[in-house]
Symmetry: C2
Subunit: 132 residues, 2 copies
DNA sequence: ATTAAATGATACTATAATTGTATCAATTGT
DNA sequence: ACAATTGATACAATTATAGTATCATTTAAT
């Protein structure tokens, strides 16, 4: 039962690192050394962030990645969605419910309530807010 | 990112079913038919509940399982712990943190806050509370 | 006693998700 | 031309989840 998987974690740390050092551009090689993450894995992650317009890439020699957005506008929920798909805590219970009648299933109601809270909280977290 | 896995779900539904029908004892065969769950899997689940003193079993012909506890005293967190282990939403981030300094890592603080809320809510749910 | 139907214990298998690696093509500064 | 980069994508390894199978033991009924 984890909220955040490894790729989300790596993505967050890379984004924070890039944000902090306003140097601008970093290659995967540099970042993976700096952050101690497996290079090919980090590369796949940065490519995904690029596709989703969170990062912007330049190719060729001296290429690399820079932030494409204001860190105040990069939300934790964005990143989670990219690497973990749609945010849902209680998928398995929405079909096969304890109560035959979905409208009255108490467990579902309670889980939905919890989910709403979690999403609201996660949505209040941005890269900027993680930089202290 | 799911809060509740299949075995927890099955366990909850079986416990609710047994609680509702105050008939008392049910064999796995009966329950699996009644609830539409794979028999061997449900069996493993009921055996685990028995080991944890949530259910009580009688062996031999006409054997089966009955509740060992008041449904008001069977908590969702108990069941989750049995099938999904220790309740922790943010394991992966407790070691490899975004911030080098754990004491000041904001993400960790936020996730811990979320976790506390979720645990508190889950802990307010019992089998009895799911019976309407 | 024997048998049928149940659980206890436990090993095994299958599937899916997570966590990576590898490779070939295209781009670009020197 | 070359070296260092990213783009795209296929492949592999590991782990978690979901489920099956089997042999031993217990017990009620015949």
């Amino acid at each position: 039962m984890k909220l955040i998987t490894r790729d989300t974690d790596y993505a967050l740390r890379a984004l924070c690192f890039i944000s902090r050092s306003n140097a601008g551009k970093f290659s995967v090689t540099k970042l993976s050394k700096e952050l101690g993450m497996p290079r090919p894995f980090l590369r796949k992650i940065l490519q995904a962030l690029n596709k989703q317009k969170i990062l912007e890439s330049t190719r060729g020699k001296v290429g690399g990645f820079i932030l494409a957005k204001d860190p105040r506008k990069i939300f934790l929920t964005d990143i989670i969605r990219i690497f973990q798909g749609r945010l849902k805590l209680n998928e398995c219970l929405l079909n096969k419910l304890i109560c035959p009648d979905q409208r009255t299933c108490l467990l579902r109601k309670m889980l939905v309530k919890i989910e709403r809270y979690v999403l609201k909280e996660l949505d209040s977290i941005t890269i900027a807010s993680l930089l202290k």
